[in-house]
Symmetry: D2
Subunit: 270 residues, 4 copies
């Protein structure tokens, strides 16, 4: 990986810490929570208030949803972004939201605090170059088929355009196993940290696709050294328009947040 | 797959045949040949003349190259498209070329006869929607991680925007095997034909990544019922800027074209 | 693969041809047909007569069945072998049957003409060493997870014990694709032939797990250069105790045998 | 998985705790340490004393080594078992050692306290049935290609023969990722615990194949709820005859053992 010039770890280079509002990704444990999709103002505000009360650092929510079928809910688009902006206004939480089209990057930046690149777009190099020119941090999900090397090259695409603020997000890879939605490749956390100075968070919701596995895998992620977690939260998971099997209700999410924050302190003292 | 309304095979629906210049994809065996990347006018014209003489139906060549590393050759862009247009003018061969950005679709259409969607963009839904609005046929490569079901949904995205002319292209999936670049999933050819009326071609060059395997896998593709083949050809493979291990010189390509055309006739008589 | 001393292709070494009764595996196209499992004398004799009439070279049938669940039909064992011996007596067809325990090799040899090593036992090295000491040819199925390199090392284990007669059998590898039971890695046929002098046959029944895909993939296997085919045949597939989705009735099998034999002649003339 | 009658978790059934000497697998955190292979008496005794001093519960060491190449070190066999017995005599640590042949089970039981079934033999059903008749606990490694469902069926094979003492061992699955030797599927730990009452341990040495990843993945395993860890230890890793990239020296192993034991206490209090 001789070409990972900018993303690579080298002699004097310090680990990247990305400041987003009050959050500092790469310094301590950053928690990102919120709905998979922005479905309505009521649903989003309800979740936003809940995760704010629980003490998350960033609010996630998708206004553009890449869906397998063209007939599935595709997200609210601009309307969704406006709802997210309102949630930010009320809670003070910075917003993480996905961008899926090069043409949208400039105006999505008016609403987003962090631009998310989804797993299916990890090697959409045009989009990577475009967010590389934006002045917002980028959360780069790993392609479900990607090697760690390919993933780091995608970060390099962004850095090479001038944007130094990339957060890697491990969200599971596709394997033969069908008991989980994807296979969470947790070894990627320390493996990535040996190669890059960029922070890495884990998304146990999409990785496992199964509510009951999110707590143990959140704890495991922290023990493996992840810089943060991104978790789907919904007040009525069974009515969610997207990925309802994996969304947590706020009470469960709260328990997990307490445990992982406590575990993180232990890890630092170990 | 109840939602494959437009791409799905149903009672009275006939198999799609797509006319492109003199070629009829889905009726007989269509051969697409040409360089992986347009590197220069000289290189492209040389290959174009060679494959014309060998009797291909369509000329392939990439002006936009999605590359793992940002420091690898990224293609000539507009300049490359102009070279392809010149090759079409001289040889009369319609052009298949990749588009990688929603912003480019309208103007790439001025040069391309077929818009190619690459494996990394198979689920770039914004791009699928955009080419779905174009008036050019689309060659949709299978994602290296995609199931057949997901692939057909991507075709559905295009059809749902009004473009009925989609050619599927099997180009290998990613597996644990390292002896070949990808694993050519040839069973996908008959499996896809049981589910959709769209034509399907095979790209043995990218599937195997190995020159010596292209002849046997081209023959196997025809025997499995493929509607066509797309093969990398280069006059000086060892100097190719992209995928040099898999490009064929014209003489080898010619031998394969003769064999597969002969085999196709046998298959029809079997 | 410097250690593939015996199985590897080297300068003067000729391709191995294995004589089994009237069959010559590695010289022309060898067809192996028969039931997945020996279920009863009546069922086995019925299939044996049918495939003999169709002109197969070898009769397959399992007396020991490795099954995922301990509660599934495990095969008739010795009783099954006796039924196979009776089928051989009547039809003259040599018998291919699986052995799954080192303790069974010597006495199974009294009934079998070819010892089959199943996909789950490909790296059961004790068993490989034991069949390597036997005086019967071995049909070595590829592990569903194995690389070509690992597979050839397994052949080397057998050859290294003194048994030169190994037939490789590609039967599909496990991938993320669920439309087929396994993914038939047909590129393995020419890739293997570049590395070893041993013959290779394809089992499209287990590879695809789907009746309708067996004909196209049998044809594709022959076009790719396979030395033979091994196909499940059953007179009442819907009542088969094992793998009923993939067994062919004799009339369908007969049509395929005719086509592949005809195709093979074409291939030799191409 | 309706057929996991014995291994399955059901209403009143308690979680299995397996007593082996002073160890109680399934109750607290069990640490298994030792050399991948028994290479000599000196090497084995040296490691045995070291891991005893560090406080492991069980000593591992292979006398029969399933190796990809027939020309690689195959283990010392009986001589190796005698060395292990000597190590047990001196240290008091029970021995975990692999058995690879049905013919060996009865006499290996004279030396082993726990019979290990390796990843390549997970579906060697003859061997599973044989260890199912033995009066020693079995450590059943997951096949590198196996689904959780298939793995539990293999446990069921053993239980169904009368042996209730099965310890599952997650050791990584084979995927497209090449940065690690295998991909540790840590989600399998909580997923398995939802389905079976059997204890599950993790082998981070074989899963990652990389020394530097063993500490973070050991910690992650404990956080995910694993009942134990099995780790390769060698006093001179660079001279190890087997898997030298992953063996830890005693000082590193000691640090990890301290951390995981401390973490386990934290987890219980979380």
């Amino acid at each position: 990986m001789k070409d990972i010039k900018l993303a690579g770890l080298s002699g004097e280079r310090k680990r990247t810490v990305i400041k987003i509002g009050n959050a500092r990704v790469g310094d301590g444990l950053t928690i990102v929570g919120g709905p998979c999709a922005v479905e309505s103002e009521e649903q989003t505000m309800q979740v936003a208030r809940a995760v704010k009360a629980i003490g998350v650092d960033l609010l996630r929510g998708g206004a553009f949803k890449p869906r397998t079928s063209p007939y599935a809910f595709q997200g609210l688009g601009l309307k969704g972004l406006k709802i997210l902006a309102k949630a930010r206004d009320e809670t003070g939480l910075p917003i993480v939201t996905e961008v899926i089209d090069t043409r949208d990057v400039s105006w999505v930046c008016e609403y987003a605090d962090v631009l998310q690149i989804g797993t299916r777009n990890m090697q959409n190099f045009s989009l990577l170059k475009e967010v590389g020119k934006a002045d917002k941090p980028v959360l780069l999900k790993r392609g479900m088929y990607a090697t760690i090397e390919e993933w780091l090259y995608c970060a390099e695409y962004i850095l090479n355009e001038g944007n130094p603020n990339v957060i890697l997000c491990e969200r599971g890879i596709r394997t033969h196993e069908t008991a989980t939605r994807n296979t969470l490749d947790l070894s990627a956390v320390p493996a990535v940290k040996e190669k890059t100075h960029l922070p890495i968070v884990v998304d146990p919701s999409h990785a496992t696709g199964k509510r009951s596995l999110i707590e143990p895998m959140s704890l495991a992620s922290v023990a493996a050294g992840a810089d943060g977690l991104m978790i789907d939260v919904h007040c009525n998971p069974e009515q969610a328009l997207c990925d309802k099997e994996q969304a947590l209700v706020p009470t469960d999410f709260e328990r997990i947040v307490k445990k992982v924050r406590s575990l993180r302190k232990t890890m630092e003292a170990l």
